[in-house]
Structures are given as C-alpha cells and as structure tokens.
Symmetry: C4
Subunit: 256 residues, 4 copies
Amino acid sequence: MDAKTAQTKPARIKPAKLTRPSKLQLDDLVLANKILFRFNIVDAFGHISVRDERDPKNRYLMSRHIPPGMVAARDIVTFDMNSNPLTHIGMPQMSERFIHGEIYKQRPDVISVVHCHARPLIPFGTAKGARLRPLTHMCGFLGCGVPIYEIREAGGMTDMLVRTAPLGKALAEVLADKSVVLMRGHGATMVGTSIQEAVFRAIFATENATIQMQAHALAIGGKVEFLSDEESAKSSKGRNVPRAWTLWKHQITAGR
Amino acid sequence: MDAKTAQTKPARIKPAKLTRPSKLQLDDLVLANKILFRFNIVDAFGHISVRDERDPKNRYLMSRHIPPGMVAARDIVTFDMNSNPLTHIGMPQMSERFIHGEIYKQRPDVISVVHCHARPLIPFGTAKGARLRPLTHMCGFLGCGVPIYEIREAGGMTDMLVRTAPLGKALAEVLADKSVVLMRGHGATMVGTSIQEAVFRAIFATENATIQMQAHALAIGGKVEFLSDEESAKSSKGRNVPRAWTLWKHQITAGR
Amino acid sequence: MDAKTAQTKPARIKPAKLTRPSKLQLDDLVLANKILFRFNIVDAFGHISVRDERDPKNRYLMSRHIPPGMVAARDIVTFDMNSNPLTHIGMPQMSERFIHGEIYKQRPDVISVVHCHARPLIPFGTAKGARLRPLTHMCGFLGCGVPIYEIREAGGMTDMLVRTAPLGKALAEVLADKSVVLMRGHGATMVGTSIQEAVFRAIFATENATIQMQAHALAIGGKVEFLSDEESAKSSKGRNVPRAWTLWKHQITAGR
Amino acid sequence: MDAKTAQTKPARIKPAKLTRPSKLQLDDLVLANKILFRFNIVDAFGHISVRDERDPKNRYLMSRHIPPGMVAARDIVTFDMNSNPLTHIGMPQMSERFIHGEIYKQRPDVISVVHCHARPLIPFGTAKGARLRPLTHMCGFLGCGVPIYEIREAGGMTDMLVRTAPLGKALAEVLADKSVVLMRGHGATMVGTSIQEAVFRAIFATENATIQMQAHALAIGGKVEFLSDEESAKSSKGRNVPRAWTLWKHQITAGR
C-alpha cells in the first residue's frame, strides 16, 4: 500500500468541468447522514464523507456546515484533498474537514470517513488506562487496536478542533492502518471501504463501548474476555454490513 | 425425556407434498419477529424459529436471511432438522440456522428457539465469574442455571458463528435441559414450549440482566438476594406469558 | 388514626344496588393506568386501585386481569375490602388484588394504591444494605423510610405473589404508615391520598432510584447527601402533584 | 462589570404602558421551553427566562406556573427584577422566580436563565467530593468551575425551594461569575448571553454529567483527563450554539 501517492500528486482541480456526483452516491451519502443521526452517533455535530467516485484520488464529498440530520443532496459539497471546496463556494464549511482530506491522503484503501462525538466513546478516550476492545463478533474491526489522538501533542493548547491540515495529518498518523481512532476530549473518527462500512463501524464501535463499560463494571476488577486477534480478524468478514444497511435504510425510509 | 429420538430418526422430507404452514402459526412467528425487534432483543441480526406443526419432529420454520424487523409471512422458510431449507431454495439462509436444528434434535420438549445479541446479556457471557441469576419472579426460568457456551472449546479459533451442525450440537449440549444459554463474545439462545414462551424468556432474561448489573453495582461487593431454587420453580408457572403476549401483540398491532 | 376501623366493620355488599362509579373517578383511574404504562412504571403487569367514592370504607375499584396499558372504563371492577369482585363476576381477576384490599383495611388515610415492578426499584429491594432515600425535593415522601417486604417471613417459599389475604395483610403491616414498600424479588407498592398522589409517588420513587444508584457509584464509597427528615417533610407539601398530573394528562391525551 | 447597577436602580414599572413583547422574542422563549422539555432537561418542573428586550435592565419574561412543555406565547409573563408579575396578575406564578430576578440583578452580562432538575446533574450536587468538569469541547463553559449551592447555609431547613429574594440572592452569589450552579438535593441553574446559549448550556452540561459518570466508573479510581483551563476557554467560542439551535428548532417544528 502506497499511502503517500495521493498526497504528493497535485489535485487536478477543474471546477469548470465538474459534473454532478451520481445520484446513487449522493443518495447513499444523504442516507448515511440520516442513519448516523437516527442512531445518536451524531447530533448537531459530526460528519461523514466519501471519495468522489468521479475522481476518487483527488476529491471527496461531504455536506456543507449543517447538522447531519438536515442534510439533503443539494447540500453535498465536492472538496479537493486539501479540503478546499470546489462547489458551494462562499458558504460556511465544516471546520474539521481536514480530518477527511488528510486521512484520504494517507489511506488509499479508505473510501469513507465518519467523524462523531458519540457519547459512549468519550470515556474510552479520557479514562486513563481504558482500552476499547472487541467484545462481540460484530466489532471484530476493533481487534487491530484503537489508538487515542491527543491533540496536545500535535497542537498544544487548542480549542480541540482539527481546524488545520497539520492537525488532520497528525490524526491520520495516529489512526495509521486501524479502523477507529478515539480523540481525547472530543470524539472519534472511523473509516471504511464503503459508506456502509464506515457507518457500520461507527454504530457498532459505539455499541461495543456501551457493553464494554457494563462488562468492566460487572467484573469489578476481574477479567473480561475479549475476542482474540484471530477471532477479531475472522469475524470482520461476512454479510454483516449489507444486512445491517438493509435494515437501517428501511427504518429511515419508513420514518422510524 | 428421550432427547435423541428426533436426532436418530431420518427426516422424512417430501418437498413435493409440502403444504403451506397454517396461517395462525405463520402469523405468530411473524409477530414474534416484530416483538423481538420492537424490544431491542434483535437488531439487524438474530432469529426465532418454531417446530412446524405439520411435522414437528422433522421440520421447523424460520425466516430467510433478512432482518427480523422486516420479516413477513412470505419470508418463512421450512427447514428439516439438519437445517436444510425445503422451501425458498437458492435464497440466502441464516448462517446460524444450525443453532435451531441441533437444539430441536436434542430437546423434544422445545417448540421454539430464539437466538439474539441482546446487549445487556453480553457482559454476563464475558465478565469472568459473573452469573446471570433470577432477581424477580418474572425470571424464575433462569433459576435452573444459565450456562455459557465457549465456542473455542468446540471449534477453536472461529469467526464466532455457529455455522455448522457440530458447532450447533455443541451449543445444544451446553444448553442441556436449561432455558437459556449465553454465548461468549456473541449473544444468547433461549428456548420455550411455545413461540410466546421463547419470546417471553428472551425479553425477561434481558430485563433481568439490566437489573442484575445495577443490583451488583449498588451492593458494591455486598450480597444480592436472588430467588431461591424453590421460588424460581414456583414462579415459572402461571399466567405471565399469555398476559405479556397480549400486550405485545396489542403494541405491534397499534404501531407503538 | 384508627387503622382498624375499616377492617373490623363487615362489608355491606349489596351487588343488586350497585350503581356505576362516577365518570370522573373512572376517567381518572383509566388515565392513571395509561400514565403508569407510558412512564414504564408498569408493563404487562402491575395495577392501580382507588377507594370507591360511592362507599369508600367498603369498596375499591381496579381493572380486571388485563395489562394496564389496555385498560378502558368498561374494565373497571368493583371489589369489597376482602378483594371479592362485586362486578365482572366470573372473569379472571388480578391474583394480587389482596395487596389493595388489605392496605385499605389497615390505612384509612390511603385512597389509592399502586403495585408495580418498576425496574430501578428492584435493586433496592435485593441488594443487601441498600436503602432507598430521598435525593431531591420531588421525593420527600421517601423521607419517612422505605421498608422492604420479605415474603419468606410471611409465607415461606412461594411463587413470590401476594395471592392471599394473609400475605396482603403482612405486606400492609410492613408498609405500616409509610408511603412506599419495596418487595424483595418482586417490585414495590406505593400509596397516596388520591390517584394523582399515588401515581406521582410511583413515578418519582422510580426516578429517585435511578438517580440514587448513580450518586452512589459517583461517590465510590463516599457519602451521599440525602434530604434531612425536616427537608423531606417540608418538601412533601405543595403544588407538585397537580402540576405533574396536568402534564401527564396532556401527554396521554395528545398521544405522546 | 458593575454587577450592582441593576440591583440598586429602582424598577421603573409602568404597567399601563406595557406593550407586548416582540413576536421574535416570544417565539424564541416558547421554543426554548419546548426544546428543554424535548431533551428531558425539564419535566413538569423547571423554567427558562430572558431579559425583556423592551427594558432589559428592569424586566424579564418567563411563563406562568405551567409545565414548560405546555407553554404558549399567551402564557409569557413580564416580571420586574424583584420578580413581581406585571402581567397575568392574580394567576399562579412560579415559586422559584426569584432565581431569575436575583441573578439578573447581580449579573448584567446574563440575558437568559434556565432552572431545571435534569436527572444526570443531581448526583454531582449530592455525592461528596464529586465535581462536574468539562470532558469534551462542547462543554468548555464548565471549565471556569461549577459551584454547588447548599440551601441550608442560606436558609436552614427548608422545603428546598428558592421561594424568596434572599434565597435567590444567595444562589446568585454562589453562582458568582460562573455559567452553571448545582443545587444540592434539587437541580441546577445555568445562564447565558442569549436564550440559545442558556439552552445549549443546560443540554450539554447534562450530557457532560452522563459521560463523566461513565468515565469515572471506567477509570475505577484512576485518572480522568478533563479539558485544561485553556482548552475550556478556547473551545467555548465558535459556531456551536447557533448550529445546535438550528437542529433543535428543526426537530420541534417537524414534531420529532
């Protein structure tokens, strides 16, 4: 994997020639916003992006600066990998869009990125010594490790937001080749090889966090049995993602 | 109880003669799927089956590979006791259908089986030393003991799923004559003498788990008073199951 | 207070002359059932009664054996103080109606009784050493003490249900002059001088339980500051009950 | 900041000349009531006020004595800074309106005040040694400290309510220049430079409390890393409040 390719290649920005993203990709991205809101992964804050299938090495799609639960297709902005908007110019954009651009630069395998403040994940980024680890086969993607991003190391005393490309690059470096990175005093960022997988990981990482807090409390100092590395790796494959997506899409469409 | 009868008798599969299951049994099974989803016992995953009343020794009914909340009567598949589909041939089926077939083989008294990932049950299968025990008279069915299935003992390092008849047989053996078996790093399986009882046990085992975690935390190292064996046995009888079912059916029918 | 008056006077049962309860009292009792269900104080189980305003010393009103959330005015049964039904003869009645009749016999000041299995109250009846105590001014009614009913003392090994007059009488004696009695391995019973007050106490006792568990966990062995006896007594008076009832009635009426 | 100016200047009450508050301010205040109810910050109890933009030094607006979730524009009362109603004379008013008047007198910078019994905040006011501190950048406003009001110090044994101007003045003095004050055995009061900011602080202080309890439990005696003073101060600025308000308004308007 050549993680630096996208980063060193200058973005071929041709705004004048920008066609509209495909309806399918727009629909999936809008639906993903609604699912993340429906399951309390995002509230007024948080965002999900996807590589633009028209030019996946150089562009990504994400909503403009509005709450995820209110996103419609017309709100989807095209960004270059330096997180400059190529459409919706002059409108407010997400301060933390650099999370997305910088991860895409360093991770050619990543197609979609979620950034969120899901409540149950916060304690694992702030309680010293706590480690988010996979408790069930739905969360095998956590088995490769869940690093914690301490923004003080990259930026000193900040307002905690990933407002610049260097802060985003530092986050991507802490994420490295993992699926999820926790952000101390802030939230988490998770990646996937599709919109569906990134959403799945956001929802089930959060589920795992809730259950793991209960398991530790129940064990009171005793041992909790997590998935082994091999179990994690094996259980990460299979039909889980499309099956869950089918239900979530059904729930949003049916207004539930 | 001759637990081996069904297992040794070869299934009399006559697909050509398969009549449709009765509307009553189909309706109950579909309703059970919706109730389990409504009360967060299942999400996109999990399933419930029932012995086919047309040939209860040799066949059972369960939905094809779709989320329980989306199941309709047309999705109900007839399986033989080796978990081969006799209808809906060529469509994707539940990977873990062997849970159901193997339990029916070993437990002639069991009419219905639920497999789920209900969140509050997970800690009891993973926190060393924890035991799920009955805290109220609604959960007397837990009083006979709640074993834990460690799939590593039956299958070594797996993807955690009960994908084969031998893994299902091992699970049925750990369940033995109990009502509920927890599955480490996975979920739980519960059985009943009717669809209604299996659903009741799934919902109230989960309620018990939530309350028991709170009781242990409140006691902080102190004693929690569980139902005695005699109290458990006595409180397992009575009008609880049909009364609860009446409400749940009402709630689903009224769309609440 | 002469708690024995009602008990020793024989019930003047004149079924032939029974007029219908007033619409106002029926409406309040039906509404109370729906409120208790809406706020998860009762599920398929639990019940609320009120002294019959036509003959408050000798009769009370309560629904027949159906889930509280499904109760309508036509389901309200008139009972004598020995908990014999005077209407709806031959229909199934609540097994535990003796809770109500026996409390009315011993507590002339009590107008309404709630029996429930509200989840957060269960740990306080089962964790040894735990005491439910008032944490806020909404729960001053807990300040006089919350006794625990151990049915083993009254009935030995039972199915946990208050199925007889002697078991009900024993419960009323443990309740004594308090507002709430917890029932080990079962639930709780609370009383009030009106339907509104009994419902209020059921809901806020449950709220207090949830908050108190959190307070103890947060204090980790340290002290939690409860209301003093004087604060409890003073905060029990005032406009809280009617104001809360106004909202709850509005929510039920508006279908929320 | 001259906190005493408003307090020493006599209120220029001219009821005869009272025009109606602007529709915009009324709409925002009514919406704030509904948002606080929707997010469980208030139930039947609690209230929010705002300085009257027609005469901000001498008057404030707040609903009459009804549950916040039922408030309409016609229920908004105009009060002077001694918390005397200038409209809706003779109707029942909030017992604790002195919280609002006395804070406005001492804090010229405060435009809006919320008083609530939000459940997760209660443990932090009652568990000895517990301190509510900012865990994420959404709650930087907690970084300046969260004092606890012990009403016994100001009023001895009371019914816990801030029923008088002196009790309100004592609360305002404990609040001092902070954003939130916890009230032992009661609830909390938070202030803001706008209705939107006061609501934001009520909702996110409550979120922080829930997460912080989990973080302490997960750390089991270990350290939890809070925002530093500098991080708190920096993260308190920015676009968070209007963005959250946009979503909340959307949710209320859409009936969700």
